[in-house]
């Protein structure tokens, strides 16, 4: 059964226990307790916390908002990233310089960039309204209106993560075989047909990978919201992770936020699996 060779697995196993297994099991245990500011400790209150989660309208609304934000921002990142990658793919003058330039947003710290963007979007002092003013557009309530704040978060997300898409898709484009393009040229396909019939299908596996990675990342959005809008105005830009943060680390409802986290985790696992399957079926045509 257990021989000496299995002990070689021990370091990796212990690390796994310390960073994944223990926190997960502990969170599950905590979610069945009423641990908060008044009552610190692991009592047992059954599924009360979960009952509260399902009745918590603010949580479900934040989840809906998060879904919308992720879908729109990731779609935009994909489209823009693909367009940029296609532009740099064919030998362009200064292509190497552009490639580095495009990657800068991704390399900067989200919090720092969010602070800068908050300044840009500042209604009276920020350059965004200043520039719009030059074109005769009145002051836009970037961060003080619900829609404005949502769009602001969206812009920062797209700005920061398009380079990531760009990088993945460019790597994909560079590795594409040459023959399909030659064949398409001989078949008489123009630029547009070549893109839809050759480039896009060949890029499907990379597309799926890139979209899934970005969706996972986007669903965890927290720092941008925290710095840029703090979930406001009201709860207009409050996402799930930000709401869990409020409940757990601001209100110190440890037990309840543990239940929220677990529900959120399950929803994410299920929905991302479904999305991955759908994308596979849609883009590659594989069943199952």
């Amino acid at each position: 059964m257990l021989s000496s060779k299995h002990f070689f697995l021990l370091p990796a196993f212990l690390t796994l226990v310390a960073i994944i297994l223990f926190p997960l099991l502990f969170t599950i245990r905590v979610s069945f307790s009423s641990w908060d500011v008044f009552q610190s400790g692991l009592d047992y209150i059954g599924g009360k916390n979960y009952g509260r989660v399902f009745a918590d309208e603010r949580f479900w609304k934040s989840l809906g908002r998060l879904s919308l934000l992720s879908l729109i921002s990731v779609s935009l990142q994909y489209t823009l990233g693909f367009a940029l990658a296609l532009a740099v793919w064919k030998q362009v003058r200064g292509g190497r310089f552009l490639r580095v330039l495009f990657l800068i947003p991704m390399m900067t710290t989200p919090v720092v960039m969010s602070v800068i963007w908050r300044t840009v979007f500042h209604e009276s002092l920020g350059p965004a309204n200043d520039i719009l003013g030059m074109f005769g557009v009145g002051a836009v309530p970037w961060l003080s209106s619900a829609t404005g704040a949502f769009i602001s978060v969206l812009i920062v997300e797209v700005w920061q993560w398009t380079p990531f898409m760009f990088l993945l898709l460019l790597a994909g484009l560079v590795s594409l075989p040459r023959e399909p393009y030659l064949a398409a040229a001989i078949d008489g396909a123009g630029t547009w047909r070549t893109f839809w019939q050759v480039t896009f299908p060949l890029m499907a596996p990379i597309t799926i990978g890139a979209l899934i990675i970005r969706l996972i990342e986007a669903s965890k959005i927290m720092d941008t919201v925290y710095v840029l809008t703090s979930g406001g105005p009201g709860t207009a830009t409050e996402t799930s992770s930000y709401y869990i943060y409020i409940r757990g680390l601001r209100d110190f409802q440890i037990g309840y936020s543990a239940a929220l986290s677990l529900v959120y985790l399950v929803i994410m696992i299920v929905s991302l699996t479904v999305i991955a399957k759908l994308l596979l079926r849609l883009l590659v045509g594989k069943v199952g």
Binding site: P177, E179, P180, L182, A183, A185, I186, D187, G188, A189, G190, R193, Q197, V198, P201, L202, G285
Partner: protein, 361 residues
Amino acid sequence: MAEIVLENLGHSYLSDPKDEADFALKPVNLTWQDGKTYALLGPSGCGKTTMLNIISGIVAPSHGRLLFDRQDVTQTPTVERNIAQVFQFPVIYSTKTVRQNLAFPLECRGVAPVRIKARVAEVATLLDLDYALDMPARRLSADQKQLISLGRGLVREDVSAILLDEPLTVIDPQMKFMLRRKLREINRETGMTMILVTHDQSEAMSFADEIVVMKDGLLQQSGTPGELFSRPQNDFVGYFIGSPPMNMITLETRDGVLGTDALDLTKNLTVGTAGSRHQLGIRPEHVSLVAANAENIGLGKIKKIEHLGVDGVVTLQLATGVLIKAKTRKHVEMSVGQTLGVNVLTDDALLYIEGSLALAQ
């Protein structure tokens, strides 16, 4: 249908080629007749794919002209040439069905839907793909996918030549045989010129009416499979065509007469320029082995016997220590170490001077 003429056609990937070595394809004159099957044969990097890509228009040649039916098409873009090309790896449009794949080149050229439908049906019948027409193309096996690639060329009515760039490399051996036969059938039925690029001599031999052998960007010999086998123009062709390669036995000049102690040749061989390298080329298939006491032109001791199914390749060491290979079926009573008599017909021994076939023969 078209006759393809390569007029002093050469290509260098360098912008300013200094000498011959800078050419991927050294200037060549060749005529591909309408309706025949050709094979471009040579080791990797010999310039055969470059030549093919020049014909299809993917590469613009740096030197010379390319004529289709006496019309200069050197600068004509790929789309406007009456050429189809099948690549090493099957190229299919993976999101489309077989039918849509076959229809694609016609759609791109704006052919009327009724005509497209008829052409696709015709080509599918020719390729035995009727049953798969509505299947997604990506579900098909590699050889069927290669048929689709071919079909996209056949479906066009303007195509006069099909270029095949090692299309059988990724196909299973059994399917390879079938596909090769299919290609010949299509050639007979449609009368389309077919040019096959390959480094497999048996593939070239069984496919082509005429084979063009290339090496280092230079044309070595062009001729029917029979000619290449029986009269290789130089030692490279002798080495490259045939398995095992041609035996090359060095000759010495004695009193103005060429000869070797290894074999007692009755042939009267003319000496070329004094001091040049003289060799005798003998196909292993033309070496016959007899018992040591029977009439022979030399004795050899068996060093190695390789069995190749029905045939066997016997390596013998001749009197001077020179090795000679014989391809024979009589390997039953042979054993390593045994001494046998060697015979070669006079006509089957060819004289090579400095690696080139002596013209006197």
